[in-house]
């Protein structure tokens, strides 16, 4: 299929405050690459006022107003944006919400779904993506054999897009929600984590494992170090099971996936299930007392020592710099 028949590449842009989220910036970068390979251009899609922010990055932004809460309305909106613009390619950052909404859009559009792509291109008119499977240990190359392709982009796999030189135009895209989009009622629930920096968005993650020895060691070592580096706090499942830290901080197969610039693992053995949640970090630093800990096979800098001895030295060295 040629670029013209394929229409523009659409990218969904989530905004926090006055900037796209890091995930959205990465999705814009992915969409630009895909559009270049397909010989077409990128249009943004955003909710309400977010469209103005998206227009700093994209020449055309389709603005969708009055979206009800919940996933059903998002499925409706994303599907409508494909329908209403003649686009056949839709790209969005692989947030939890997107991972639940995007496959439904693909089903509704009768299209292909490419989940958590780490690379994206077009070959012989078909969208081709690479993604990771088997606990992030195997790279699969997938071809979308359908007219339309819905793509979620893996956190940290693409660069963050720069703003465009010119401000784009914003066009309203009418989306009419129906009864089915209101069948699920959504209320905020108590007990959300009050983290200073969202784990998936953080540039630095300081994660602690059972080797810290106690919940208190998080307060005295992990949290101060994370604060000093402007990063977020993460944990292993062992630590969450022991109730030292909340589940929202768990990294790994059954927790969150992160790919910060620097991942510091303190007292973490490096089990496959943990590594699958962080092995795409740019740099991995490990502090572990056991020279045989598997994490030392997969780190850039490894300090074989007691965390209780190393972290205070690290804090001191950071003060000096």
């Amino acid at each position: 299929m040629s670029g013209a028949e394929r229409g523009p590449v659409l990218v969904w842009v989530d905004v926090v405050g006055t900037e796209p989220t890091r995930g959205a910036l990465q999705a814009i970068d992915a969409a630009r690459r895909l559009a270049a390979a397909a010989g077409t251009h990128v249009h943004g899609v955003a909710a309400g006022e977010d469209a103005q922010v998206a227009a700093r990055y994209l020449p055309t932004v389709h603005r969708i107003d009055a979206l009800p809460d919940g996933h059903d309305a998002r499925v409706r909106a994303w599907h409508a944006s494909l329908d209403g613009t003649g686009a056949t390619m839709f790209v969005v950052a692989g947030t939890r919400t997107a991972l639940a909404v995007a496959p439904r859009v693909a089903v509704r559009a009768g299209g292909a779904y490419l989940e958590e792509a780490v690379t994206l291109t077009v070959e012989d008119g078909q969208v081709v993506a690479e993604r990771l499977t088997q606990l992030q240990r195997v790279t699969e190359r997938l071809v979308a054999e359908a007219t339309s392709a819905v793509v979620t982009v893996k956190v940290g796999a693409f660069a963050e897009a720069e703003p465009a030189e010119e401000l784009g135009s914003v066009e309203v895209l009418d989306v009419v929600a129906d009864e089915r989009d209101r069948r699920v009622t959504v209320r905020p629930h108590e007990g959300g984590s009050g983290a200073a920096v969202a784990l998936e968005e953080a540039d630095v993650v300081v994660a602690g494992g059972r080797g810290l020895g106690s919940a208190e060691a998080f307060d005295t070592l992990v949290i101060p170090l994370a604060e000093r580096l402007g990063g977020a706090v993460g944990a292993t499942r062992a630590v969450v099971d022991a109730e030292w830290r909340p589940y929202g901080e768990q990294i790994g197969q059954t927790g969150k996936t992160v790919a910060p610039t620097v991942y510091l693992a303190l007292g973490i053995s490096g089990a496959v299930q943990h590594m699958s949640g962080m092995n795409r970090s740019r740099w991995i630093v490990a502090i572990n007392a056991d020279a045989d800990a598997p994490i030392f096979q997969q780190c850039d800098v490894g300090v074989i020592n007691d965390v209780h001895a190393v972290v205070p030295e690290l804090m001191k060295a950071l003060e000096e710099r």
Partner: protein
């Protein structure tokens, strides 16, 4: 009510991964019921134990050997099992289509699906199944209750969590924290051998995604290891942080 719990057979994480040609080879893999699916089976059992009159059916798409994982679900307490056999490795959307026909035939009220499949590293099956059925879905669910025709649940959103209410029939995807799956007891493992397990060929469904190649992901790391004086280790970390601009 009827509860269908969708399960998958996956290699356990300790298996070593290799790729030969384009196929993943898992040396010494033990194949198990996916941990995420155990939460689904457990939750179905708990709903019944809370006083809801329910039949619990374990359902899977996969090769013949998937029977073993289905037997585990039966040993945990599911009433009967169905296997839609195929040696092809259908992607999540195709698998959803295969499952949907069987679920409609069962006239299920509630379908529980693992939140993320360990072999695919995918969270698509549950949402794709719900959409194929035209049902509402709760994803990343940490607690649920059935109240007449309404499902109440709490699920994790991108930030914090939300309470959802939706009409049945519905699909729920599980995650860690939903419950603590029970281990099958020996008498229950024996009993499970006599429970109904019906295998039939999976319906034809053409896939929209084709895998063209596989490689083992190997990222080269520096592996600078520092033993001895903790100060030296600290300085090596600071240099890396500086280099990284963090």
């Amino acid at each position: 009510m009827k509860i269908v719990t969708v399960i998958r057979r996956v290699p356990d994480a300790e298996a070593r991964v290799r790729v030969e040609g384009d196929d993943v080879v898992l040396t010494g893999a033990a194949w198990v019921l996916d941990g995420m699916d155990e939460y689904g089976v457990e939750e179905a059992l708990r709903l019944r134990e809370s006083g809801i009159d329910a039949e619990i059916v374990a359902l899977a798409v996969g090769p013949d050997a998937t029977e073993e994982a289905l037997r585990t679900a039966l040993a945990m307490g599911a009433d009967r099992a169905r296997l839609l056999t195929t040696d092809a490795a259908p992607d999540p959307l195709t698998t959803a289509r295969m499952l949907a026909a069987a679920i409609q035939e069962e006239e299920a009220d509630l379908v529980l699906v693992g939140g993320k499949q360990a072999d695919w590293d995918s969270a698509a099956l549950g949402p794709a199944l719900a959409e194929t059925l035209g049902w509402p879905v709760a994803d990343w669910t940490t607690s649920l209750a059935v109240d007449g025709d309404t499902l109440q649940c709490v699920h994790d959103a991108d930030v914090g969590n939300e309470a959802l209410a939706m009409p049945l029939p519905a699909v729920v995807t599980t995650q860690q924290g939903l419950n603590d799956p029970r281990y099958p007891t020996l008498p229950n493992i024996m009993k499970a051998k006599r429970k109904e397990l019906r295998a039939e060929p999976a319906p034809d469904a053409s896939a929209s995604v084709r895998t063209v190649s596989r490689t083992v992901e190997q990222r080269e790391r520096r592996r600078t290891l520092i033993e001895g004086d903790p100060r030296e280790g600290a300085h090596a970390i600071v240099s890396l942080l500086r280099e990284a601009g963090a």
